[in-house]
Amino acid sequence: MRFQLTEDQQSLRETTAKYLSDAVPVGHLRKLRQHPAGYEEEYWRQGAELGWTSLLVPEERGGGSVSGNALVDATLLAHEFGRHAAPGPLLSCNIAASVLAGEAPTTRHAVVLDELLSGSQVVSWCFTEGHPGGHRPEGLTLAIDVEGDELVLHGTKRPVEAAAQAGHLLVSGRSGDGLTQVLVPVDTPGVSMELMETVDLTRRYWVVRFDRVRLPVDAAIGQVGGAARQVEHQLQLGVVLLAAETVGAMERGFDMTLEWAFDRYTFGRPLASYQELKHRFADMKTWLEASHAVTDAAAAAVDGAEKNAAELVSVAGAFVGQYGAELVQDCVQMHGGIGVTYEHDLHLFLRRATLNRTLLGTPALHRRRIAELVAEAES
């Protein structure tokens, strides 16, 4: 997050922070462990009223950013979600809203978008697949074939956020050499889902299988076979939102541990007075500031459609993915045994940083992507 925000941005951030502190304090999060959705519908609906699903949607379609930089604004929400280890399908709903708002609407799509914006419907993004390469648009194998005036979907997506809460699924798949995106009602015959286990306490993921699922051609969002650029863009949005959320989780873990270091005495003096620990705090502070810096830069580049946007996004994915989890793990180490107990709060933030590190490309995969982009740029 930037050192300086506009007044509107500051207000957006504070409103969400306050709401999260009230609605999902850490004690409540522990209770949500057993909740099938990981969150209450009413919690999400009220969040939507605060703008949680509308920032990436233009005003004329019912949304509106607060600063004109839509993704930068959205990262403020993601940051607070990270700081509070907050539940709710923030990523899927924002991506879906952005995609639906980005194309000329069919009647049905318009209804879904309105419900997304009001928080009364969740749309899950079915993008990644469980094989190597399944984290990139060009690696997708789920088939979306045209048969007469129907689209036929066949394949498997995982992990899919909040699939059982969703009214519709936004499915990205392959049509020959091109990509297509389709909005699929969850109750369409041939759609089945299986709950996954996850490291997170409140976010739920499903394997969603599409067994020759048939839909009218106008279920497609935009051109059949022409969605490559759209998918690449929404993937960039997603990676940046995950990075911003992880930065929030890092920041909270760091703050907690810094306080602990001043508070906790060993051998008659505070942990904060031990040089070896001090130096690790210096490293952590550096990773934290660097994570802020590169996430903000990536968000601004995507908003501005700058030509280095793809690179900055993967740099954020690689760096924040790597150092996010490393930072919170070092916080655990500094806490000692209590840092790995369920009763302590730290693991809530570790879970979030760990989960996000895996969702839209691991750090290693982002590094490979950066190398590809560098090679392209140089050739």
């Binding site: 992990p159 060993t266 051998f267 790995v340 989960l355 590190r357």
Partner: protein, 435 residues
């Protein structure tokens, strides 16, 4: 190679060599005939997180039986003097037995901390009566022991004990709390380090006691770890009465006992009192990393191969380093404190190994289904990865010990040395908790 290894071994056991061979043969025969063959991976990760309370109690009962059978066959307490019910043999015999034990069941829960450090401390510091009372039942599997050592908020400062023992005639009254005991809820007896004098510096006011775990005033609470495991307990002692005859070592001299106690704890796998399959010892069982790469569809990916190779490398180096340092310590060529070297290596390696597994799992590290086979739970193991660098003394403490006690560098400044323990600053939160 063998001649050189023996030359380095220095156990002075040459006279027994023939006997050792005979003993080994007898052990092999008995083991094959009496013990179930098990896949060693059963013992990886020690106590499974998915046992119910009943299941775990059943396993403990079974291990007590197993220990009894070992005892009756003459294989319990191989290095324990005969007068306490042991076999009075040498470390070489224990090693031979451990070799023969490879691939078989054994009473895993009874080794640590019952045999080491508890039995080791009893043998070293116990009175004759204490030893005659407790060693035989320990060897028969009738007494499982536990160590009441760490305290909440104590961290690396083991001597900063706040549990107090106040003298009351011929007995002591203990109050306080202990933590990080493995399986205290199914154990019988415990060693306990308590503060008997608050008006002298930290290390000079401690005393060690032994006490039964099931008694009024001693409440045992199972701690839930973030992965759902309830391996560890916390104990709350409220006016627990201990007769002075259950004191170990002199009054206020508990730190002398404590230093050896922690030494025996560190040297667990080198202890001649511990029975376990030799092949199991320090291995992280990294062979499964190949399976992880395969399950992730990355067996041909050079980057994954480098990770698999690194995992195996850490495993092998860890084992060889332990071997080197324990041989050096046993031969008196390096000082005891050098045991912190393999401890540090293992702690760092354990963290890295879980990170490698998580890396190999890729996206499946974040979310998985039971169909994901070896990739299941790699993410949860990653969440727990620091335990290898925390449990049994942090890697930070190991680094202090190596730099100060092995390399002789200046000691870290303590703000609690040479002042009465009562006056030591305990920080804002500790202050609130402990007055």
């Amino acid at each position: 190679m063998n001649s050189t290894r023996d030359a380095e071994d220095g156990d002075g056991e040459d006279g027994d060599r023939q006997d050792t061979a005979g003993f080994a043969a007898r052990a092999r025969t008995w083991i094959e005939a009496n013990l179930r063959r098990v896949d060693p991976s059963v013992y990886e990760g020690a106590f499974r997180t998915d046992l119910t309370e009943e299941e775990e109690l059943a396993e403990v009962a079974q291990e007590r039986q197993l220990q009894k059978r070992l005892h009756d066959a003459g294989f319990a307490g191989i290095c324990v003097p005969r007068c306490y019910g042991g076999q009075g043999l040498t470390p070489a015999h224990q090693r031979a037995f451990n070799e023969a034990l490879n691939g078989h069941e054994f009473p895993a829960r009874i080794q640590s901390p019952t045999m080491a450090p508890c039995l080791a401390v009893l043998l070293e510091f116990g009175t004759e009566e204490q030893k005659r009372t407790h060693v035989p039942p320990i060897l028969r599997g009738e007494e499982l022991w536990m160590q009441l050592l760490s305290e909440p908020g104590g961290g690396s400062d083991v001597a900063g004990v706040l549990t107090s023992a106040a003298r009351d005639g011929d007995q002591w009254v203990l109050n306080g709390s202990k933590i990080w005991t493995t399986g205290a809820w199914w154990s019988d007896w415990a060693l306990c380090l308590a503060r008997t004098n608050w008006d002298v510096p930290k290390h000079r006011g401690l005393t060690v006691f032994i006490l039964p775990l099931r008694q009024p005033g001693l409440e045992i609470h199972r701690i839930e770890m973030l992965n759902g495991s309830k391996e560890f307990c916390q104990e709350f002692l409220t006016d627990v009465v201990v007769p002075d005859s259950d004191r170990i070592g002199d009054i206020d001299e508990g730190w002398t006992v404590g230093v050896r106690w922690m030494f025996h704890e560190r040297m667990l796998y080198e202890s001649p009192l511990v029975t376990f399959p030799a092949g199991l010892s320090r291995s992280f069982a990294s062979s499964s990393y190949t399976n992880l790469a395969r399950a992730a569809g990355r067996q041909e990916d050079p980057s994954a191969q480098e990770l698999v190779g690194e995992a195996r490398m850490l495993d092998v180096v860890n084992e060889r380093l332990h071997e080197r340092m324990s041989r050096g310590i046993a031969a008196g060529l390096v000082n005891d404190q050098a045991a912190a070297i393999p401890r540090l290596f293992k702690g760092v390696a354990a963290v890295r190994l879980r990170t490698i597994a998580f890396e190999l799992a890729g996206m499946t590290g974040g979310a998985w289904t039971p169909d994901d086979g070896p990739l299941c739970d790699c993410g949860v193991d990653f969440l727990m990865r620091q335990t290898g660098s925390i449990g049994g003394g942090t890697t930070e403490m190991a680094r202090n010990v190596i730099s100060e006690r092995v390399l002789g560098m200046p000691r870290e400044r303590s703000a609690d040395r040479d002042i009465p323990f009562r006056q030591v600053r305990r920080g804002p939160s500790a202050g609130r908790r402990h007055g």
